[in-house]
Symmetry: C2
C-alpha cells in the first residue's frame, strides 16, 4: 500500500491557491485519471478556470462555494461535485478562518474520436 | 454542475459499514472509474476485502488505520492511499467517538489482455 500524505506533498502556488498534483507520485501515472489536492485560503477563491477535462471533486476540509456562470452552489464538507467541459468555474472559500481543501480527479471525456466504437457503453 | 450530497445519498450496509456507491447517479456512469463513500463507525472496521480493482482512497473525515497483510498504516485526514490487486485490506476506525468517512475510486488495472497494444504507456 502506498500512502500519499498531504502534509508532505510537493505543492505549488497558482495565485493564492496551493496545488499538489499526484503526477509527483510515479505510482499514479497509470491511473485512468489525473488527481490533485488544492487548498484555498479563508475568504479567497480559485482563479476562474475552464478546461476540456471533466473534473470530479470532493470537499475534504471545509465547504466549497462553486460558481458556474454566475450561479453559486454550496458543496458541504464530504460532498462531491462534477464539472463538465462546458462549465467555467470559480471555487470560493467563504470561511473567515479555515482553509478549504479539495480533492479532484480529472480526465478527458470519451468522444467519438477516442472511442473504438461509438456506442454509449 | 452536479452536486453529490453525502447526507442524502442512498446508502446500504455492508456489515456495520455504510456504503454509498456513485452508480446511483447516472451522470457518473461514463466515468473511467467507479466511486463510493463508505463510513465506518467509531472503534469498528470494514470487513476484510481483496479484489482485482485498484482502489484509491482519501480520508475525508477522521483518520484511517489500514491493515494490509498484518501491517497497519495510519492515513491522516485529508491524505490518500492506494491498494493494488494483490493487497487484501481491512480499514479500522480507531476513534472512540467519531465516524470515519472514506471516499474511494476503483478501476480494473490495464493488463496485456485489455490493452490494444502491450507497450507501457
Amino acid at each position: 500500500m502506498q500512502v500519499f500524505d498531504y502534509s508532505t506533498a510537493h505543492k505549488s502556488l497558482v495565485e493564492s491557491v496551493e496545488v499538489a498534483r499526484f503526477e509527483q507520485y510515479p505510482a499514479t501515472l497509470g491511473f485512468p485519471f489525473k488527481a490533485m489536492w488544492y487548498c484555498i485560503p479563508p475568504q479567497d477563491n480559485s482563479p476562474p478556470d475552464r478546461h476540456p477535462e471533466y473534473e470530479f471533486s470532493i470537499a475534504v476540509r471545509g465547504s466549497a462555494t462553486v460558481d458556474v456562470n454566475g450561479v453559486r452552489t454550496v458543496v458541504d464538507q464530504g460532498s462531491a461535485f462534477l464539472l463538465d467541459s462546458s462549465e467555467g468555474h470559480t471555487v470560493y472559500n467563504t470561511s473567515p478562518d479555515e482553509a478549504l481543501l479539495i480533492f479532484s480527479v480529472y480526465w478527458m471525456p470519451a468522444t467519438n474520436s477516442n472511442r473504438c466504437s461509438n456506442d454509449d457503453r
